[in-house]
Symmetry: C2
Subunit: 340 residues, 2 copies
DNA sequence: ACGCTAATGGAAACCGTTGTCAGATTCACC
DNA sequence: GGTGAATCTGACAACGGTTTCCATTAGCGT
């Protein structure tokens, strides 16, 4: 029976035809995939863990890009992509245990997430994206520190010294407010922590007191949240000349808020993003582009093409500063028209 | 052993502790999900079949919305979402057979797709989205005919009689060109066929000879393809006063092409879309909004909350005409300024 | 001390497939 | 007709859990 379905070459066409015909007559629906998986020890699927509000995962083009790249790699290999149900709130680690997969990709979860711990306990290969390095685990991601450094250098060169920052959530608990230094350095989202640290280093080097730089955090990752964060930031610190956002989505919101309050970008206010999504490019946002599709694809390939289970690999993706129409030198209030 | 993990109440805490401790000492990674699935006859996952270029699925916000809604429903139920690898080109039906899932959701595949046939052969419940009704299968989708009717009525009322149409792919083979009547009526993508038919009915009723209305098809579903389709359409039929697109993405492309050739929208050219994606709303595109998130969520609920396997359900979702800033009466060439 | 009941631990059956292996059958060819 | 190869058949043991069922034991009352 098994042969008729799986190895047509081992038996005569006539017999195969007869077997299949009989099977159909008996209403046999074909081999059970689960039983097959048990026997062959191959699930034919890779699990994707992203402990995020799904609204985040699907509404952020950067995240969708990663998803697409991963799905592409899976499709090439003919294996399924199993999205593990893991709400941020629910501590339902069981879903990780229940997933019949040959490996996991972990993307953008806080480093203290119990789901992540559960994945690491499973005896299957794992690749992490945009996460802090873990002993013996493959990793892929951009050099966030260097990428943010490019943005910082760009702004410093333009002359900005009074800047404000808008960032995504830093921990599992909500804090839609200004961020304390402790919360900054203790952030559980690797990407956000790294970017903030890199900004601190770069601006400190330029003589800016980082402790005086306001950082506003938003739990949800939407354009509207970016706008409200910008409002909060500019209400409290109107002297700011540049708003640095850790994602393009937030930057789009900041742009909207700038327009709302009559600030011209970039003449009155510089806004920068991060990721390089299509819409950012369309409107000419100054940002750092990272190859999100490649990120997902590379992770998938790493996981699936694991013929050589040799040393764990760490792949760093290139990033590129894209100077658009949203950054310019600050307005020189101290040096009026006769200055210079 | 099983009891120790799954039913702590059935055995003494002492024994449970001992069992778990021993398991840990032996490096036992917890129950194998596949074996468990085999025995319990529950895979804990639903399969999603969308035989499309993944670039389509992930780049069309409407499709992403469906995906998000479905993922949301799965998350609520604590089951995984298994994306079945099915490229449009590859006839790798095996992937459908190999998927260990408790049910399938089928979205936006041609009605003659072998993958779809393979899904229907599997002895698991299935819900189809935006597909032609099938005997005994749950279905969810908007009333496409009525929705398109609203657009048509809007345009007819405005006075448009010289219209052109841009639609998505109608069959599995590529045809980036004008569409013959035969291809229109024989389209294998249910949604597209229905929309074209509804347009034909509405405009015929308004006295327009549908056979004379040019329809341009694009295989890929991108803004650029929408633009190139508009170019092809307007090059051949410059007298057209309204371009009807069967998706917002294509409409965005048509807008870009209009701008490129110096046509003002809506004064010189009316453009309409379909779906009601966020970006369309942002720019004020006249379109028909359909609740894509609800579509996915409803499908998921239907599949998962199947306590009552009674009669197959068909759920029709509401649509809403959203008149934006891209539709207006046609320029009255025959009746200049003194007309009236 | 005895018998009954309830609680508990352990053994065995089962889920549906794949892989192997021995034995039976067919067929061709010498 | 005998031999060998090729092909087919049928049985059976895993895979790693869950579930049922039975035997054992403990607890309790008389």
């Amino acid at each position: 029976m098994s042969n008729a379905y799986n190895r047509p070459d081992q038996l005569s066409p006539e017999l195969r035809r007869r077997v299949l015909e009989t099977a159909r007559r008996l209403g046999y629906p074909g081999p059970d995939p689960v039983a097959r998986s048990l026997r062959t020890r191959k699930a034919g699927a890779v699990g994707l863990l992203l402990t995020e509000n799904l609204s985040y995962a699907f509404r952020d083009p950067a995240a969708v890009g990663v998803l697409e790249g991963l799905a592409l790699a899976c499709e090439d290999a003919g294996v399924g992509l199993h999205l593990v149900p893991a709400s941020p709130g629910r501590e339902d680690v069981a879903a990780v245990h229940r997933a019949g997969v040959d490996g996991f990709v972990v993307y953008s979860v806080p480093d203290d997430d119990p789901h992540l711990a559960a994945v690491l306990e499973r005896p299957v290969p794992t690749v992490i994206i945009d996460q802090p390095s873990l002993e013996g685990i493959d990793r892929v991601g951009p050099d966030d520190a260097a990428a943010v450094g490019k943005i910082a250098e760009h702004l410093v060169t333009l002359g900005h010294r009074q800047v404000g920052v808008i960032c995504m959530r830093l921990a599992r608990e909500r804090n839609d407010d200004f961020v304390s230094p402790a919360r900054q350095s203790g952030a559980h989202f690797h990407v956000q922590r790294t970017r903030l640290e890199a900004l601190a280093v770069a601006f400190s080097a330029a003589g800016v007191d980082w402790a005086g730089v306001p950082v506003v955090e938003r739990f949800d990752h939407t354009v509207d949240d970016g706008a409200s964060a910008a409002r909060q930031l500019l209400d409290a610190y109107p002297q700011i000349t540049a708003v640095i956002c850790t994602s393009d989505i937030l930057a789009l919101g900041a742009m909207a808020e700038a327009e709302r309050r009559g600030l011209r970008v970039p003449q009155d206010l510089t806004v920068t993003g991060f990721d390089g999504i299509a819409e950012a490019e369309r409107i000419g946002l100054t940002t750092v582009h990272q190859p999100v599709l490649e990120k997902g694809k590379t992770a998938g390939r790493l996981l699936l093409g694991s013929a050589e289970r040799s040393a764990p690999k760490v792949i760093t993706l290139p990033t590129e500063l894209r100077v658009g129409r949203t950054s310019a030198p600050p307005r020189t209030v101290e040096e009026p028209w006769f200055g210079g």
